[in-house]
Symmetry: C2
Subunit: 206 residues, 2 copies
């Protein structure tokens, strides 16, 4: 079976949309995605890339097209509750570090679900520590502890290392997928990701 990875930053709506679709890919192929938090701001600094919402500004038709493709993806995958965050773009440094803290604390999957939902369904202002702590608490996570650990050096270092290693393997944006060492960028490559998993020995799907 291939090793498959999902390199993501919570701040990317396309990462959230991919996150919603990955369980189906896993169900069809029998392969679980390894979620790897990668700080998009760091990726941009290391590569010289910029977010689409910056680089497309002032270019006629192109941002509208990206938005059309988001609507198509949402419709195709029946993601009824997705909503662009009213505070977008949200600075994700704190919640990305806290994702590493959640790994260290053994509550990663739950943390990822809660933070993604707060950003892309509930529209919470997730660069505000008080908002984040409350969101985590309400979902049964120890928000204060996770935010405190997010400030510790091993946590910060791990996020930096994830980011640097991802860029060294070819990443320039979010979401990025790896099937073993084969790289795929963007939610719109998920069909290709699934095909690659099958070619690499995952189960043939329905």
């Amino acid at each position: 079976m291939p090793k498959v990875e999902f390199h993501f930053d919570f701040g990317s709506p396309n990462a959230y949309l991919a996150h919603r679709v990955l369980p189906g890919v896993s169900a069809r192929t029998g392969v679980a995605f390894d979620y790897v938090p990668v700080l998009l701001g760091g990726v941009f600094k290391l590569t010289g890339n910029r977010s689409p919402f910056e680089s497309l500004k002032g270019i006629r038709n192109k941002l509208e097209y990206e938005q059309l493709e988001i609507r198509r993806f949402v419709r195709r995958h029946d993601i009824a509750d997705f909503a662009i965050n009213p505070h977008f773009p949200v600075n994700t440094l704190m919640i990305m570090r806290a994702a590493i803290a959640a790994e260290f604390e053994g509550v990663f999957a739950r943390y990822v679900e809660v933070v993604f939902r707060h950003l892309w369904v509930e529209g919470s202002k997730m660069d505000d520590p008080a908002v984040v702590a409350q969101a985590l608490r309400r979902s049964g996570l120890d928000g204060d502890r996770l935010l405190a650990r997010a400030q510790e050096a091993p946590v910060k270092d791990k996020l930096l290392r994830n980011t640097e290693e991802s860029v060294a393997r070819g990443t320039f944006g979010s979401p990025t997928f790896f099937v073993d060492e084969a790289i795929f960028f963007g939610k719109d490559r998920l069909d290709a990701v699934e095909a690659e998993i099958r070619d690499a020995g995952g189960r043939a799907g329905a």
Copy 2:
């Protein structure tokens, strides 16, 4: 049956690669693509967009990824003879105008085939009038006549009008596809184009 259009500039390698795949889409759906010459330089001027080979310059990993996706597309569709033109980027104003002249002369399909092949298989310098005239002559087309007509006002006007109308409908690059008024950008949307054709009443495929 939906009206399907392929808006292209010869200078785009991705337009050529799409051109190689469209006959299969037509065979499976029963719908022929209407080829619409659209000057990419004009699209960029009207939208403020730039070619990927310009905008990706200096961004780590991104151009390499685009090239990887070209290799994947070539392999998936078994396009054995594709080669990046050694004179790339080629100024396409002359050959795009002559495409309109070829429409007026009733030799459009043959002209498109010859010019695409010379650019993306044979590596000819297709912004040199002598090279173009010879390439057309060797393929049984009246190169001198087409290049002369390419200078006429109605031909120039038609290319400009195509370009302006395409941008008004949402175009910002090449290749762009329309299935009735639904727009799709890039060779990597061809699966979505095919699905849209079926939804819009084309034949269900094999």
